[in-house]
Every structure is written in C-alpha cells, then in structure tokens.
C-alpha cells in the first residue's frame, strides 16, 4: 500500500480493493449462477413492479429488485418501500402515475447501479415498510434460453 493509498483510506475516500473484489464477485456470480439473460431479468423487474404498484404505492426511487446469492442458492430479492396501500387495487394494465412521474421503466435498477448489499442488510434497511421477497420465497430457476423471445415470461 502506498502512502497516498493509506491517506485515502484514512480519509474514507477509498474502499480497500479486497472489499471491492468481494462485492463485484458476489454480483457477477449471482448472474452467472442464475443463467438469466439480462434483458429478460429487466423485463421481469418491470412486470413485478407493475403488479405491486396495482396494490400499493411504492417509493420508486428506492426500489431494488436484484439477484442475490448465498450458499450457492440464488434468490430474486425485491426491496420495495411502501408509501401507502391502495384502498382498491388498480385494474390490470392501468397506467401508473407514481409520485415522481417516472414510470417503472425508468427505474435505475441496473446491476451496475447496485453496491452488492447482502440479504440481511436489505432486510434490515426495509424492515418497516417493505415488500420483501426472501430467498425461500423465490428461487430463480435457470431455465430460460438466451434466445427466448421476451414473450416467454408473459402471463
């Protein structure tokens, strides 16, 4: 470690590279292991949010739907902070005008945008008002072929 590295570390400007290595690996392995094509994953995220939004108003900005992996089990984890519940569910396919005006399609849910928090941290962060799908709830089967048309997962 150089003196400059050390000072940066001391000032909290820089994470040790070992920590970065761990986080990057966890993310890439979650994807490697699930064998899900990123496009389909993205579409699935959008559809999940659409369904949830019919029942509750969620805080779009802080929503997070991602793959996590622990003990070689890959899980789809959704952390969706709830603003308020709807008295009646919206009809299927209804346009959703959430607070910020941006539709679910505009969500920043790229795999790169995440920092690789683990399941416990996610659970703790959203403990009060979140819809949380834990590892037991939704194991992702790696059955999609990369060439499948998007219609493959439509209801």
């Amino acid at each position: 470690m150089t003196v400059l590295d050390f000072i940066n570390r001391l000032l909290g400007r820089e994470k040790p590279s070992g920590t970065m290595a761990r986080q990057r690996l966890q993310l890439v392995l979650a994807h490697d292991r699930s064998d899900l094509n990123p496009e389909l994953l993205d579409q699935m995220r959008r559809e999940i949010l659409e369904v949830v939004q019919r029942y509750v108003e969620i805080d779009i900005e802080s929503c997070d739907v991602s793959l996590e992996t622990e003990d070689r089990v890959t899980a789809l984890l959704a952390n969706l902070p709830i603003k308020r519940t709807r008295e009646f569910p919206l009809p299927i396919g209804s346009a959703i005008s959430s607070g910020s005006g941006s539709g679910p399609a505009a969500l920043a849910l790229d795999r790169g945008a995440r920092t690789g928090t683990n399941a416990e941290q996610l659970a703790a962060a959203g403990a009060e008002t979140s819809a949380l799908a834990g590892p037991s709830a939704s194991r992702v089967p790696g059955t999609t072929e990369p060439g499948d048309p998007p219609s493959g997962i439509q209801p």
Binding site: M1, F6, R9, L10, P16, S17, G18, T19, A21, R22, R24, L25, Q26, V28, L29, D32, R33, E70, D71, R72
Partner: protein, 257 residues
C-alpha cells in the same frame, strides 16, 4: 491455478504417510506432471498404450525413486484428446484404483471436454484457486459443473495466499472466498518462491524434511485427507511480537487497515 503443483506435492506427501498412490496426468494437451515429479526421462509407455492394451499397466507406471509408494501414469500424445471418452478415463482410473489407496487425477484447466473426461472418472474433487476475482469466478463455474456430475465431496484449497496483502485487505480474504464458493476449506498455500525452485529441480517440496511454508501446507493437506485434524491457520491473521499486536489492536479499533 496450481493444480499440477498440488497433485505432485500431494502425491509425494500421501506416499510419505505410507499410502500407495497413483497420479494420473489427465492434462493431455499440456502435460507437466512428469516434469514436476522429476520423472520425465523415465517414461516408456503412457495411458495411451494402456488403453490400446499394447502394454500392461505396470509397464507404463513410473515409480518414484525416493518414494516408491508413488507411481505416475503419464499422459499420452496430445492427439488423445480427439478420441478419448469419459468411459476411457473411467477404465484407466478403475485399473489404478485396484492397486492404490489414492488415485490423484491432474485435470486440465477450463470446463471443456478434457476436464469433463477427468471429472467423469473422479469420485471426489479438490478445487484449487487463487484469491483473485477472475480465478474465483472460474472456480465457481467448475464447482457448478462438478455438482451436475455428482462429484462429491468437493473441497477447496486456496493457493498463492499473500498474508500481507490479505491483512491490508488488498486481496480477497480467506473467509470471502470460502463464503462465496460455499466449500469446506482443505488447505491454505502461501505464495512461496520455493515452489518455483522445486519445479526447476523436479523435486516436490514435500520430499524435504523441513519444508518451506508451501511444502508444509501440502503436507497438512495430505494429513487432513487421511482424517487427521490439523487446524487451519489463516496466515493473514497470524502476527507475532509487540509491534504486531499493537498494529492488530489498532486495526481492530479503527477498522482502517
């Protein structure tokens, strides 16, 4: 990375523990096990002739001079890759298993057919990797493949560990790798210049009576395979002396370095 070095050292170490060992070079493309064991000049026949039944197994096996409990079945011509089947590998391994306590198969890198052939003949596996992102990712692929082939148990050896870099968190830690790969740890081998010297000479480190850190690590792996309980010490957490203890304390309280 470090498969062939592990196979050679583990073979010698098990032989020293009184086991009969056969080592099989299944890396037909890039055969090296003969060189690392210092047996390259004594090869007459190979696995190829054994399979073709143009020679008997004991004619092809090359016994180690200092450790006659260990015998090498050399890899044949690289073109063997074109016709060798998983069943062929099972045949050879079966023959070797009849006459040995342990059969160690030195697998080729990657997850192609050569690796699958080697895995098809294995009952259990040792995955060896270095604590680097690319190597760990590759190891994860291999572990996934082994699971589909029903090879188990699979144990992990972490190679080329640099205690100082690990202590500085400039490298994946031992816990990071075992957590991520979710495998039991069989051994920790430090980065050690003596490995290169021993390769130059064709004399595995485990032949020595007072082996270097890596040599001792290979001996420990052999003992653990034989059921002995030898504690695994994470070298990045092991520090001696007052100064080191002070540094450790500072590290713990500040979590900075």
């Amino acid at each position: 990375m470090g498969k062939t070095t592990l196979t050679a050292n583990l073979g010698i170490a098990l032989a020293r523990l009184g086991k009969t060992v056969a080592v099989l070079d299944a890396d037909f493309g890039l055969r090296n096990l003969d060189l690392l064991l210092g047996l390259e000049n004594r090869i007459i026949y190979t696995a190829q002739e054994v399979l073709a039944t143009t020679c008997r197994l004991d004619q092809a096996l090359v016994k180690h001079k200092q450790q006659p409990n260990l015998a090498l079945l050399p890899a044949g011509n690289p073109r063997m890759l074109e016709w060798l089947t998983p069943e062929d590998m099972q045949t050879i391994t079966g023959l070797l298993a009849e006459r040995s306590d342990y059969v160690l198969i030195d697998a080729p890198a990657g997850i192609e057919q050569g690796f699958k052939n080697a895995a098809a003949a294995a009952r259990e596996a040792i995955v060896i990797t270095t604590p680097e992102v690319s190597a760990v990712r590759d190891a994860d692929r291999v572990i996934g493949l082994l699971a589909t082939m029903d090879v188990k148990p699979v144990q992990l050896v972490l190679n080329r560990v640099r205690p100082k870099m690990m202590a500085n968190q400039e490298m994946l830690s031992v816990d990071d790798v075992t957590d991520i790969l979710a495998l039991p740890l069989l051994g920790l081998v430090q980065e050690d210049e003596r490995v290169i010297v021993s390769t130059n000479r064709g004399e595995p480190l485990t032949l020595e009576d007072n082996p270097s850190p890596a040599g001792q690590a290979y001996l420990n792996i052999a003992s653990r395979l034989c059921g002995e309980e030898i504690p695994l010490i994470d070298p990045s957490k092991k520090r001696h002396g007052l100064r080191a203890r002070l540094i450790n304390k500072l590290r713990k309280t500040t979590g900075l370095f």
